[in-house]
Amino acid sequence: MSRLFLRKLLRDMKTRKGSLLALLAIVTIGVGVYIGFAAVYRDLDGSRERYYRDYRLADFTVYLKRAPAWSVQETAMLANVREARGRVQQSVLIEVPHQLKPISGTAISMPLRREPVLNDIFLRSGMWFSDNDKREVIIDDAFAKAHRLQPGSRIKVLLLDKQHDLLVVGTAMSPEFVYLIPPGGGFTPDAENYGVLYLPEKFLQESSDLDGAYNQIIGSVHDDSPPILNFTLRVIENRLEAYGVTQSLAARDQASVRFLEDELVGVKISSRISPTIFLLVAALVMNVLIGRMVAQQRTVIGTLKALGYSTSMVTRHYLNYGLFIGIVGGVTGTLFGFWMQNVFVQMYRQFFALPEINAHFYFDILATGFLISIGFALVGTLKGVRYAVSLEPAEAMRPPPPEKGGKVLPERITVFWRILSFRQRMVLRAVFRNPFRSGVNVTASLISTALIVMTLCNTDALDSLMSFEFEKTAHQDMTISLRDPVGIRVQTDFQQLPGVSETEPQLLVVCDLSNGPFEKRAGVMGLVRNNRLYTPIDEQNRRIAVPESGLLLTKKLAELLHVSRGDTIRLRPLIARREIVYSPVVGIVDSYLGLSAYADIRYLSRLLGEEWAANTMLFTSFRKTYDPAFLRELTMRPVVVGINERLQALHKIDEVFGQSMGIMIFVMVLFAGMIAFGSVLNSALVSLSEREREVGTLRVLGYTPAQISGIFSGESFLLNGMGIFFGVFAGMGLVHLLSMAYSTELYRFPVVIYFSRLLESAFLMCLFISLAQWIVFRMVRKLNWLDALKVKE
């Protein structure tokens, strides 16, 4: 492009800076979202890869009662197993200085001398255990920060029935706990209320009554593809059967690994879908804008051709308009993308305990972003350029043929047409005479409405899920987990603790459920009759009544097992004697929680071969807060392995998710608004420029600017009204799609659509549209209509 034509292009662009800015904003968001998400994905994925590799995340974990040391060697000899390591993992209660409440935690054994073992830890501060002193501990880095602990601090740790005073020698993080969710404690990491401790192997073995033995075997394999690894796990389970295997997990099924993976998949999907939406709208809007610019330059095109410019030279010139927008959009999009990448990296640093998540620069992502921007921009200029090419020079020199003046569709319905005012007719004519532009307008507002509806409903769904889990179902103040199922006496004992108002025992048993060839592992919950502190409800908010005998299955579980009411299924509990028993299915309930089953606590106890057993105790307290005496009593009971506060967990989720959700909603609504605003402004400006003379004529006839703007806004509100209307339905469709995408076997993401949210979305859209209309009004008022009448097209 010669400098001459570059100057022409820039000056042409300047005459349309309003539309251009709106358009560039959309392109910028599209390109920025792509670059931002794609780069964050790579930052996070790279950091994860390195961490898992360098610190040797195990491919599987087998939980056992007690496995002798040689069983580890035995496991390592099995086919496909590359390496195996025995570990001791023990629930503990931690007391830190200046804090009343004991904190639940997990102790994990590490070799006394540092060596590169599986599930190695990354020392953040301090050092490894010294040789001679056994009373040393390395603590989780986030936990240390939350409690201001550092090497040199001392903590008290209750291991089984004995409290140990330990010296903190280091802080560390582990690839196993990138996203550390307390067991039974909701969806978010909570370093204040849950910690991981690393203790020398021999010390932990001795204090856990596991001298020379382990209760966990972790290992790596040669082939970790799901079917092969699952088969290997079966083989291991069979081989170790005698040592009381309670569970075996592939790495990908571990909460932390899974959560990180899900997040990454989400980022990857976002990096594809969002930019596509934005750039598609941008391309459509641009077709309208460039189409108009080129149409307005009809005579210029004719003149250039008359001066001897070839069709391809003219084509290139107008393609450069697209190229220009593509390049500028690419630059601003890149800047925006970098900013987004940094914001996201910052956010992920808070969520994920990875040793380093840094925002890197990726040339290929940048290049792709640029190419996408330019590609979409060129597609956006196609319509205009095709018009420029098609003009014969002689034809271009003549004024454009008068607009098609034929009747528009609604005009044919005479009964309807007659009742319309003159201005309403003008609106309808304008809408129907420019089907492409009208279509773009409707599409853009449809998309933005759908995005807003989806965003708002999504937050309601999350809220409802939280309230389902933490308010409607659970009513206790505190949950105490017990090491093993205990008899009925324990309830009487706990009932008498200071400050306790009500107690309710539960028996939670993980079982392998099967029906013929169909098998699934699920949690069976034993509830007391007249349960008050934990009341499972179905999707219609009805309380689920647990029958005296037999099992209730959730619909999802029943489907997976291919059973219906009245069938008998096989259960193999993973605790106690682990004997296979049979039970009838007496009912199927609809629930958000996918893989669950309910039974009467006595009935479930009997299936385990006990008269009455419980391993969880729910409490309410009079004071709704911790009674120091109560806590002291609890820590004196070695059977207690976990303490969870319901409201605390809820607050933590609110705190962690609330803030980032708020930002997410704001940004999404803003983006959607940008699409609506940009497209409305653009089409109104184009329409205004086409009809300047019409505006002039109306002014001569005595119309006020407000009346004339009314015609334009009438057009806009008609089109956008349609877009909003259909957008609401499209948004509801998206909500359903999202629910399907988020739902897993474990729980179903609810579809929550409040009518008020739909109204709210429509209202927001009207706000964005009005804002654009206000700008149009100002332009109509400022338009030099006398000139408009004189000017020749």
Binding site: S2, L4, R7, K8, R11, D12, T15, T299, V300, G302, T303, L304, K305, A306, L307, G308, Y309, S310, T311, M313, E392, P393, A394, M397, K792
Partner: protein, 237 residues
């Protein structure tokens, strides 16, 4: 003045436009020779086909039948690209409404033409020839109609074409300005030996040309030689 060499010859040219369901015969069997270095005025009422004829001469359009030859090149059989090159090298257009590009300055508008030819005069030189070097940096909207038309003349001139085609160049101008523009065209014809073809519906101008061709209903009706042609000062309307 001895006129011998035929620069462009038009033989039995017809042009039929299809407008909706009717055929419009814009040119019917028109024949005309244009001599090298002459000042030819084609005169006719509106709708007589004079603009269509000028488009054929300028290679902007191709006839439905008949032949048009420029020297030994047959324009009526040339490809689009050949016509483009013909317009670029041999023809300079001057339009009734100037057709300047509004977002370019006077100088830049002339550069649009010089940019694509091999031996142009400089844009500044072309502006000097029309007496507007001082307004090089003005945009069309900052210039009067006459000035705009003179820029358009400079643009036509700058690529050093043999043929200047003027489509009602004074149609939008007042008398005094018209005189200036016409004077300039006849000076270019005399001093630079440019062949000028000017179409108009204004009889008063007819006296200026070496020859006057009258067109009516798409045919050349009558060709007259002015001996001698009048000067700009001599014509009145």
């Amino acid at each position: 003045m001895v006129l011998q060499r035929v620069l462009l010859s038009i033989r039995s040219v017809s042009k039929v436009y299809r407008m909706g369901e009717v055929d419009v015969h814009a040119l019917r069997n028109a024949s005309l020779d244009i001599y090298d270095g002459e000042f030819l005025i084609i005169i006719g009422p509106s709708g007589s086909g004079k603009s269509t004829l000028l488009n054929q001469i300028g290679g902007m359009d191709r006839p439905t039948s008949g032949t048009i030859s420029f020297m030994d090149r047959e324009l009526s059989k040339s490809s689009d690209y050949e016509l483009t090159l013909y317009r670029r090298r041999e023809v300079g257009f001057i339009f009734q409404f100037y057709n300047l590009i509004p977002t370019l300055t006077a100088l830049e508008n002339v550069q649009v033409a010089t940019e694509i030819v091999e031996n142009p005069m400089t844009a500044m030189e072309a502006l000097q020839r029309v007496g507007l070097a001082g307004r090089a940096d003005h945009f069309p909207s900052q210039l009067s109609g006459g000035e705009q038309q003179r820029i358009s003349v400079a643009r036509a001139l700058a690529s050093n074409p043999r043929l200047l085609l003027c489509d009602e160049p004074t149609g939008a101008l007042d008398v005094e300005t018209s005189r200036q523009v016409l004077g300039m065209l006849s000076k270019l014809n005399r001093e630079l030996q440019k062949t000028v073809v000017l179409i108009t519906h204004n009889n008063a101008i007819a006296g200026l040309g070496d020859r006057v061709a009258r067109i009516r209903d798409g045919t050349i009706h009558h060709i007259r030689t002015n001996d001698p042609p009048k000067s700009v000062e001599e014509i009145h309307w």
